[in-house]
Assembly symmetry: C2
Homo-oligomer: 301 residues x 2
């Protein structure tokens, strides 16, 4: 089976301040984190656009990790830049500045191989673009999307159309409540199932993940860490481990989905231990397996 | 072994408003919730004070559940009253009014049998009173306490003295951070172990529980509910199921403590489904076991 994942979203240069330090123009973006995590489980091709100011070493780095970056277009203009600040609780970022740059006119065109992708991850971008990409994929068997409050409020009709074509939706608890109009997440899940997705993954940051399927629910706490340096990209890193596991298995049964949630959580837990992608780059497969086993010890009863 | 639990704290009349309804002068108080939960696992004697206005039916009700209420003193004056309000998120109460009544001069005197208690739960009251009670217990083998921001800020030296005599501390995550001065809970646990307790139980409401012991850590999400009507007493109900399980087992090993956390969570999950103690009163042992098994299905991978 073709387990290659097509991931469409942003590549960015992030400037981040946390109580523990700061980084300037560090490699960031949703598909960057996603692919650096997913590559442990399945081959990944990314589709994104960057500006001429995007350091070539970043693309080389991703290629070196085994990520197919041939779908990254280098365009006239500047790379998407995000500047954010985290307080001591580290659970929510304050956006200080967003410069869309070439990302403002991002209109992905898939090549022939990409159109034949079976697994598609549509990172958090304008739902019009998510739909335009998905339309180009001929016969996908597993489609996942992320979204955020900005689109839930501003492009609701388009987002609802997208949902009908999506198997998995990942978002945080506040976004889930805003999208569904339900405070209670069990009720929110029922809403989701009525609007398209078969899997509804609620990312709660340091409070873990709730994964709803039609015939089972899985609750996972977050891995317990003594040092969290930079939560940027945790959600996309989770998505990478999660989707990578599903693509590799080629199934959506309960055991596989549970495993995918834990692998996603393990990857996210490593990611937040350093700035930017530093930890994901140095990460080894045996470390992933080791923390997976620790996860079981932390939660079994 | 003597598994009887001595529980010292408040009995109260609560007036509560939630988005789903309200209750006026309903039975409440920390030892009330605690004992109504703990009684499923071990015999409980409560020590508290109420005013002459306290309906006799409430004490009869607790006795009917098998709780020993002979230690409840009926004093001249009014019962402790709390008036609170919950918004849609239901995770934190807004206190509208507190009338201490006879609770303001609460000075528990234990009788001979109570002094021989082996398991003691000191609910959230003035640490001076918690210590005065504990001094009267001759040779306790398991002592647990709860506390809150009011005492952490106002009676810190007394609270620190109490901690040295305590095996288990239960509090919420904000309280843990305030008491220890550590944002990170792993570091907070290290602080706790250096100040007395062997077990540190962090109650995170809808986000579950983290239980730290010196040689293991256990993470449990909260049971997933479709309807939460009234979160009042959830923490004390959790403590009841938790301490009841420990008292019954007479051990603090990893397997027992994990089981205790889940039973505590199960009891708390039932409690929040109705106003006041309504659900705890009608609750059956088989329902507890059934939800315990559901908990495993929700979390295993």
């Amino acid at each position: 089976m073709n387990s290659r994942i097509l991931a469409v979203g942003s590549m960015a240069l992030d400037s981040i301040e946390t109580p523990f330090g700061k980084a300037e123009d560090a490699l960031g973006g949703s598909v960057t984190y996603f692919s650096a995590a997913a590559r442990f489980f399945a081959p990944v091709s990314v589709v994104a656009a960057v500006g001429k100011d995007f350091p070539a070493k970043h693309l080389k780095l991703l290629s070196g990790l085994g990520v197919d970056t041939s779908g990254v277009r280098i365009e006239d203009g500047k790379t998407f830049r995000w500047k954010g600040h985290y307080g001591f609780d580290l659970n929510s970022a304050k956006t200080l500045k967003t410069e869309l740059g070439v990302f403002a006119t991002f209109k992905p065109e898939l090549d022939r191989a990409q159109r034949r992708s079976k697994t598609v991850f549509l990172a958090n971008i304008d739902p019009d673009i998510q739909r335009a990409v998905l339309k180009q994929v001929e016969n996908p068997s597993l489609v996942a999307c992320d979204t955020m409050n900005y689109w839930i409020g501003g492009k609701r009709p388009s987002l609802l159309k997208l949902l009908r074509r999506v198997d998995v939706i990942l978002c945080n608890d506040a976004e889930a409540r805003e999208l569904t109009g339900e405070v209670n997440l069990v009720k929110a899940a029922r809403w989701m199932f009525a609007h398209g997705p078969k899997l509804f993954v609620v990312k709660k940051g340091e409070h873990g993940v709730i994964c709803f399927a039609k015939n089972f629910t899985f609750l996972a706490p977050a891995f317990l860490l003594e040092s969290v340096f930079d939560p940027t990209g945790a959600g996309d890193t989770f998505a990478g481990g999660f989707m990578g596991t599903l693509a590799k298995a080629g199934r959506l049964d309960s055991a596989t989905v549970r495993k995918a949630v834990i692998y996603g959580s393990v990857l996210a837990s490593y990611n937040v231990e350093s700035f930017s992608l530093k930890r994901l780059i140095s990460l080894k497969r045996f470390e992933i397996e080791s923390r997976y086993r620790q996860f079981r010890k932390l939660t079994e009863f």
